[in-house]
Amino acid sequence: MNTNLVDVKGVTKDFHNGKITVNALRGLDLVIHEGDFLAIVGPSGSGKTTLLNLIGALDVASSGDISIFGHDLMAMSRKQRAELRLTSLGFVFQAYNLIPVLTALENVKFVLELQGVDGGRHERAMSILEDLSLGELANRRPNEMSGGQQQRVAVARAIVARPRLVLADEPTANLDSENSEALLVMMRELRDKHGMTFVFSTHDPLVMAHATRVVTLLDGRVVSDETKNAGDAAGSAN
């Protein structure tokens, strides 16, 4: 389980706002391994979201190299990147994650439809929801669910197409600790059972507690990278 899923080498990212240039990432190196349950932490403005966006092929680095599943991300066209997101990556965002006019089930099905999956969408979506004990929420719209329920449906949607890598930017930021715990346990099980890889950006100690590895950023660089022993991670300990 030590394959390099993502390889970030010497990546910089500059934002230009009029005359001001912000160097959000300043020569960042990071390798993500298959099966990592990785928390990226660091003070506000340290570059966590920027890094996730680059890995998620949502944005383009100013310099450096990113390879993902062995493909050179920098060489991909906008369309190829969209394709990569669609087929191999799952996203969970901080909030407003779901399409508000669709039910939980329809939200999950929609991703399958975007991917061009033809038959059995309903069954596949329903079985994911049931696997995650969300069957009862199937016909509810986002505004009829709690924040925690919405985030769990968002995870269902992110993993329904079995992506190799799920990226989550502060997924617990709007949740209380109980809901955060439930969400993390669910993702941890997916990782343990299916070998999926999860990368979070977070300020939440709970996420760090569940993580198998914690990478700390400061001013756009990695300043520490700790891999815990199996027993240290909360998910396995409990």
Binding site: N53, G56, L58, D59, A82, E83, R85, L86, T87, F91, F93, Y96, N97, I99, P100, V101, L102, E106, K109, F110, V111, E113, L114, Q115
Partner: protein, 412 residues
Amino acid sequence: MLSLSTLRIAWRNLGRNLKRTLLVAGAIAIGQFAFLGTSALMHGYGEQFFNSATGPMLGHAQVHAYDWRDDRSMDLTLDDVDGLLADIRSDPNVMNASARIYAPVMAALTEDGFMGVVVGVDPVTESHKAGLLPVDGMGDLLGEHRIMVGAGFAERHDLKPGMEIAVIGQDIDGSIASDLYIVRDVMWSAVEIIHGLGIVMSLDDAQELLMMPGQAHEIVIHTSDRELIDETVVRLSQLPSLADLEILSWDELAPFVVTMATMVDWFAYIVLIVVFIAAAASVANTMLMSTFERTHEFGMLLSLGCSPGRLSMMIAIEAAILGLLGVAIGTAVGIAFVAATSESGLNYAALGGSDEYEVAFQGMQFSLLIYPKIYAKDIVIAVSAILATSLIAVVWPIMRIVRLRPVEAMRS
């Protein structure tokens, strides 16, 4: 890209801000109703205008001797009228052809003398809805020196049924012509000349009085369909018996009627254009607002890998549904309006505070009752125009979406 879920999302998005959606759909509906109502009134008006203009007096076409229209001189006659009528009636498009005689005369009742106009009509062929004797049984009253007089004429000179009047005029040779006639009845007619001056007698009596055996001044023709008038006139003009005569269609006889009819058409088009500009503005405004509000959501969808094309399709469908919703409501109300008024007619004299139903002008009778009419063509034009307008209105919001970068959209 046009999948069920795209449709579903578009439809439900309209329900998200129901008040705004209903407001815009309502505005479009009012516009559509205004257009359909206007064009239904215009069609009804145009039809009624045509019927009035061409009605009893003008007909669809007329035959005269050259110069008769300018001179109205008694001796500019049509000869062998029966032969001419037979030729004209043999044309399959001709529904009705009637000969008429007009002659200014003096009439006398005891010592009083007054001006009148003898109108010689064929009691049989004028007895139809668009003829000069539209009421059943009118024709039977004429003949053998029995006449009818116009109501206005009768009132002015105190003429009553049963009275005998003397009619004195000039025959076509210039000699004095005179005879006695019994007033059989007083006749209501919207034709000005009959109402105010008419001494209506049978064609035979008029021919006898004026020494015009087998002759007349005018033949009035009605065809079976308005659309057939022009071709019929062309064909009739080629008849050898009409070679030296003038045959003119109604629009040549009364050009101002045509001008008015065209103006009426333009009015409906102007309403249409105003409606579409209003529809475009409200759809564009709504879609722009609702896409701005959803920028974050679009960013999320793009992040998932949804293509900009699919997003654009979603917006376009939303706009189209919005436009069609409005147009459907407006059309339903418009059809209901026409259904409610097309039978009984709409009295627009009442709008002006009068209860008269008819006015007369230059010998033509104009009813103030309009029977609104809707054509499928109008609905098709309006629906496609509003659909097109809604889609054009959405070009700007779509251009914005296509340029959207997922990360930036998510940040907003």
